[in-house]
Point group: C2
Chain length 333, copies 2
């Protein structure tokens, strides 16, 4: 539906995490990316060629994808100038922001004038049901994090890739805008009406073959006070058989909440598992996924080994090392 | 904004719990109610005079309030006939259903024709912020339940009444349609977009005098897989100083989920308290509120005594006995 390839718009991202949408697309669908567009004060870099609109157009880009997430999702006036120019030069625009492209009259007018498309992947396209909690066939895996942005989506994508590589049945189930932009399908869970969150997750992960795994993209954290309700809906609506604990070890406080420290992996385990067992009494914690992007190779390997010993669980960085260990754990269930 | 007094529409409520909206209004604002309108197969009764539309009109009713909750909130065709006739006879209609009155073209047309108002209290009237987790001044109390519909709203209303009776500062903070219909103000939390749930609760319970208590209306249950995400947002967005455990002892399974048993009060305590302490390290469980409506007086008193001993916490049925015990516990903090 969204035309490829993309030019990734990084805007004025204040840090690398701010551009995680662009990074995700670049990491999992690199063939769909021709380059990145960064404004003067952009602090992020997803390591594809920097291009202005004209160069990207020449390189074949069809859609400008807003690859930067803002708290609250405001489309600033400095962004607006770029977006309007992009439409005028013949780009479609795709966005997962809360603040919808279609709600900006100037963008709508210019898109109309030049016959371009505005894609808001944030908007739910389905009337989701209220969750009924009934046991579904097939198996499900969910990563839960000590914090937001700890590597849960990467974990699910890497495990899906590994399972498919082994010839096993697996589906990545996107629950956020990046996942949806990567796969073209999913539930924009943080934009769903509260009462229907768990039902949307049930809808996303329906009955399946007994040997099929849904790799559900996690959201938020049970310990992040801004978004914990969304995480709870995943834990109950997803009725996971397998939980993966996700962690980013260099974080000094919860993302966006300077007064809040991170829980330990033990606390995360002891909190998430009993909650998961409400919906699925057979739920198990099967492994730990650590985002070691901020660590050197030796430091990372030593850290992973330490966690594996401490927790007694298969531990790896699925992006750095692949998800073989975690998938072995799934196969052992 | 909504004109009183009301005629309470109970429709074809399948049981007494199905009419909890009407029951709540009748219990806490009896002066605003002239009677109830029940259809032939209605299994609920809120013990006010049964009236048809003409009789209610004659008794002075200005607004027909839909006092019955449906799973998913569908406005059936049999309801529709009554609502249209009510508009034609000069009633406004107020509703807290998900399925909005304003989305029903026939109702809108008839309301327009007769100059009547359609009130959808379900719709958030504010663009809520994302929760920032910052510590707020003043004190907050939240009831968390072993199940939905366990008496959390009644507990908050009764505690608010008791605190005010003692000359103390207290506000009931409505988070559901009944509470909003009762007080005319609040946040319809289950209709809020997922990402803004906790922020809506912060908005509802802002900084206040150090000796002021917000009595926050609870929603759902951490153990009810359909709605647990909403409950989680209350636990974190409300940053309660005091938790009340709410329980309905005759329930044999989670409401609407035949396969799910209820947790014990101990399990609820041990689950809710650590989660509450993420947002407010000083959170305490201060009492137990039991809905003994289905028990005789002796049975109720004996049950309450047993729970009080077992849990080591002040225990009462605030609707049957008043909330003095629970408010004593708040005053002791």
């Amino acid at each position: 539906m969204i035309q490829t390839p993309y030019l990734l718009f990084l805007g004025d991202a204040p840090d690398q995490l701010g551009a995680k949408v662009a990074q995700g697309i670049r990491d999992w669908r690199p063939d769909n990316v021709v380059g990145q567009f960064r404004m003067e004060d952009c602090k992020a870099d997803v390591r594809v060629p920097d291009m202005d609109l004209a160069a990207a157009k020449k390189a074949g880009a069809k859609t400008l994808v807003i690859g930067v997430a803002n708290r609250g999702g405001v489309i600033s006036s400095s962004w607006k100038r770029v977006l309007i120019e992009a439409l005028a030069q013949g780009f479609d625009i795709a966005s997962g922001l809360h603040n919808l492209l279609r709600d900006e009259p100037d963008l709508v007018a210019v898109a109309h004038e030049y016959g371009r498309q505005l894609h808001d992947v944030r908007i739910p396209s389905v009337q989701y049901p209220i969750a009924n909690g009934e046991k579904r066939s097939g198996k499900r895996c969910l990563a839960v994090g000590t914090d937001c942005s700890a590597g849960k989506m990467y974990t699910a994508l890497a495990m899906d890739k590994e399972m498919k590589g082994r010839g096993l049945k697996s589906s990545f189930r996107a629950t956020g805008q990046t996942g949806i932009l990567i796969t073209g399908d999913g539930v924009p869970l943080d934009a769903v009406i509260a009462d229907f969150m768990a039902g949307a997750v049930e809808y996303l992960t329906p009955d399946n073959d007994d040997d099929h795994w849904d790799m559900i993209e996690g959201q938020g954290s049970l310990f992040h006070v801004s978004y914990s309700g969304v995480t709870m809906a995943l834990v109950h609506g997803g009725q996971p058989d397998a939980l993966i604990l996700s962690h980013e070890p260099t974080r000094t406080h919860m993302r966006g909440l300077p007064g809040y420290g991170l829980p330990t992996l033990e606390t995360l385990r002891d909190t998430a598992l009993p909650l998961a067992r409400v919906a699925n009494p057979k739920a198990q914690v099967v492994g730990v996924s650590v985002n070691t992007a901020a660590m050197g190779e030796d430091e990372a390997l030593s850290y992973l080994e330490g966690v594996e010993k401490r927790m007694g669980l298969p531990t790896c960085d699925p992006f750095r090392q692949g998800a073989a260990k975690l998938c072995n754990a799934l196969e052992a269930i």
